[in-house]
Symmetry: C2
Subunit: 344 residues, 2 copies
Amino acid sequence: MRATVYHGSRDMRIDQVPDPRISAPTDVIARITHAGICGSDLWSYRGIYQRKQGERMGHEWMGIVEEVGAEVRTIKKGDRVISPFLISDGTCEFCREGLPSSCIHGERWGGSNNGGQAEAIRVPYADGTLVVIPKSVEDDEQLLKAIFPLTDVMATGHHAAVTAKVRAGSTVAVIGDGAVGLCGVLAAKRLRAERIFLIGHQEARLNLGRAFGATDIITARDERAVQEVREQTHGGAEAVLECVGILEAMNMAIHMTRPGRSVSCVGFAHMNQAPDLTRRLFQNITITGGVAPARAYLPELLQDVIAGTLDPSPVLDMTVDLAGVPAGYAAMDKRTTIKVLVHP
Amino acid sequence: MRATVYHGSRDMRIDQVPDPRISAPTDVIARITHAGICGSDLWSYRGIYQRKQGERMGHEWMGIVEEVGAEVRTIKKGDRVISPFLISDGTCEFCREGLPSSCIHGERWGGSNNGGQAEAIRVPYADGTLVVIPKSVEDDEQLLKAIFPLTDVMATGHHAAVTAKVRAGSTVAVIGDGAVGLCGVLAAKRLRAERIFLIGHQEARLNLGRAFGATDIITARDERAVQEVREQTHGGAEAVLECVGILEAMNMAIHMTRPGRSVSCVGFAHMNQAPDLTRRLFQNITITGGVAPARAYLPELLQDVIAGTLDPSPVLDMTVDLAGVPAGYAAMDKRTTIKVLVHP
């Protein structure tokens, strides 16, 4: 089969690789119908996150099950499935607590596992990892496109909103107009936030943010953005979703949070400097969030997408086939596209 | 009157100063009956926190009201009162939300205000700041000594426990065997934690911790302490109270917290290095806590002390008069005493 393989910085190739095979009785094999390129894949593409040459790429995918291991109980051949961006066994204490991102048998896609940007994939712990999409969805391509962001970015935006304690009537600030930030706006709106500030710099993305429910757009940077949010909220937003993942964004977030409230940081950051812990301490600001336990959120979010009350599909503003994946990486790297959907 | 005055690093003196006078109609003047030397006063004593020569010292005190400003409504001459370690107006939005530590008119004791280590004190925003101790307590010195730590260390230990979400049955780790850490143990016990690890190094303090409710004492340092807690809890404590306030303690705390749970950091730290935000992110560990809103907790904790179900008085293991204050600082600096009670 063909799969996206890392050959080095800015060198993703579509290579011929061995077909995936069941290697544990809890595995299934799926043919991939939808895959994504994630903002965090760019860390590899840009050479900031070091990978080994030959590693497979892609942790966002949906597909149709083609082969089922002997001990798989809930997934059947022919099922249309969605995978979260992490593998989890579904049975350990953390999975049972709703934190499959800390599963004691947790694994990541890619590396020694298959990746999602490919024709097919071997799925470890299939019962724990996968969620079956109801037959009612059939081949409704628009609905499938709306479901797809639940693999990662929509689950992550939701996690940011939930952990920052967004609730009905909240005043929320979302830092970052990438796919996660935009999904954070959607998530805050879904949780009935009253006022949603979106801080970003790209007009098209900000317009999408407004369509998703942002009530206030802030294009000022750094300290001026902080001042604007604090002035307009009379002291800071009640929940801040930091969806960029760099130190400057984290400091902005802490400074625009209302005393006693929470900042959720979900960005994949490599930080060598300290965020502002002085304001955190003196104003009792909680730093929360983290890698989203997407598997735990999938059933609830899937229900809303199918019911038509949640539609993050507009973040997928470029579609390619497998051969188009390298071009998709390049487009996301240049920020000419928000997020790429792949139809292998 | 006489008051403790900062003259420089390791140079606290008892000086003759002007008697306090009402300067705003919301002030009262109190004669001080009990004062304390706080671990955070040592930051000044050691010259780490820079003060101006001539500043008054002390932010923990109780006393008897001697004079009342024209607009004071709830405090009467002759009332026995306890003050939290911060001044707050009691009426602003943050005070109403239970976060008087972020009061928009908030002030600190000392500096341009009077300090508690003195014969008398001017109290700004007396209605907001002070809590009247019921007449039933009368002059029960042992009970007053048990009430006194509510000014700061017991409120701070309680804040650490509450914000780290200690509840009935919790497994808790408390880092630090100083007065705040010991009060953290008491607070966790009061909230019905089932297992309480206390991490410290001084035998006498650890014995007191055991008397306060610690079930497990850990004297190992750094990574070995982390390993011990993680092994014994099968993955980390459900709530970690970081009561030291230095980077190493914060990193230990993050590493011994169970995925998905909270570390409360209440120590007065000056940090120039980043705590370990990678584990925070990947294991969804929340960093919470801060400067305790002591005023908000006072009524509830006072009730328990008066009822005899809470007694933090053993942390006060040295008593001096005003002339003995410099010796008290020296003893706390050398760690030969946990905490000094002053009877001016």
